[in-house]
Point group: C2
Chain length 218, copies 2
DNA sequence: GTCTATAGATAGATAGAC
DNA sequence: GTCTATCTATCTATAGAC
């Protein structure tokens, strides 16, 4: 029983259509087309629901052209997930570096970056998070390290806000999970035609985050 | 290249280990064992990453015993997803029915139910949401209807809170997405040994939800 | 209902011509 | 680097004995 073709199935995993990659990271030529095709298919059907043939076909290539550029399907997924996490971490880091040095401004900047990244690169974000479990342990390890570093950025800001008496948080870990989690879900429902820009969504969620940590006016 | 065995891969998609089902919904005998085994495997490896053989083996049955109880692998997934959504909706409805009739109490009750459900049945919640896209359109339609009804419960409470001047929300849809999304992510990190009970987590997230809608003291 | 055996399709991956 | 052909393993699902 063949899997339904993408266009015959009206309910999709993610609202976004385009597979935008961060500027400058997409490889040139067939390797780049394969990477982009894989990103779209992994986002829609998952890693396990996508065959190498599907990817090559969507990339306009022959059924095994992928193997001229990647050792395996898993290596394609690993590159996508790596690119996604690197872009996400870069945005968080840049946001922190340019924010005013008080916890409220830093929290706002982090959440805006987190959410905007999930809007601008929603397919990348979904695949990077939802398909991470499909990677072998050794390919996942460096990714998990980077994830922990990104999480650390937010934890540190929350803890400093509490220490300075600016934040009123009943539980640091719970606040971290709530703020991080509400931003991660954005990748599933955001699409450019939804009536909001990524900046607007980031602004709303930054306000929600400030409220979660007990800062009502910022 | 065979997929790595579950126990050889230390990074899992979800923290929880047990595949608890709501009381009274698990079928008796082999059909129930197959359903539970499928739930665990779908939660860990995804629908596309799990074979019928895997399910039967985990259920202690022969490789094709599944077909004596279900017409196809997709029907097993459909039953799991249906049970998950029904339990979730039942909890939300019961929470609303027993809550005091003011928007703040109703919001608190809804979020507690939403979060506790994602703690108590985390595998069910993850599979019900993350694998919904693997269902064909016709099998997904009734589920999507139920999802919309559950979402409607929360929207109505938020809108009534705004109308009564109790809530201060910059954007209803954004608040809905934030509150719903932070609760959905709970299923990925909650586990019984994490130091918090589902009631405690529900309490923290209800507080966060109240703060998101601008209610600081409740 | 459960077993063995297996059909028929498709998966990931490789070899060698060009 | 791309194409054709293909290997081997595995997949979903079925048939028929017990």
């Amino acid at each position: 029983m063949a899997r339904a073709a993408p266009e015959s199935n009206p309910h999709r995993r993610i609202a976004a259509i385009s597979a935008a990659m961060p500027p400058g990271v997409t490889p040139k030529g067939a390797r780049g087309r394969i990477l982009n095709a894989a990103l779209c298919l992994f986002a829609d059907h998952g890693y396990g629901g996508t065959s190498v043939r599907d990817i090559c076909s969507a990339a306009g290539a022959q059924p095994t052209t992928l193997y001229a550029h990647y050792p395996s399907k898993e290596h394609v997924l690993a590159e996508i997930i790596r690119l996604g996490h690197e872009e996400h971490h870069r945005r968080l880091r840049d946001a922190l570096l340019t924010a005013q040095p008080d916890p409220t401004q830093q929290l706002s900047a982090l959440v805006r970056a987190h959410v905007q990244s999930h809007c601008d690169y929603s397919m990348l974000a979904v695949v990077a998070t939802a398909e991470l479990h499909a990677l072998s342990a050794e390919m996942a390890t460096p990714i998990l390290t980077l994830r922990a570093q990104s999480e650390r950025l937010l934890i540190d800001v929350i803890e400093r806000g509490i220490e300075q008496g600016v934040f009123n948080v009943p539980d640091t870990v719970m606040a971290l999970r709530a703020i991080g989690g509400m931003g991660m879900r954005v990748a599933y429902w955001y699409e450019p035609g939804c009536g909001r820009t990524p900046e607007e969504v980031g602004g709303f969620f930054a306000e929600f985050a400030r409220r979660i940590v007990g800062v009502m006016n910022a």
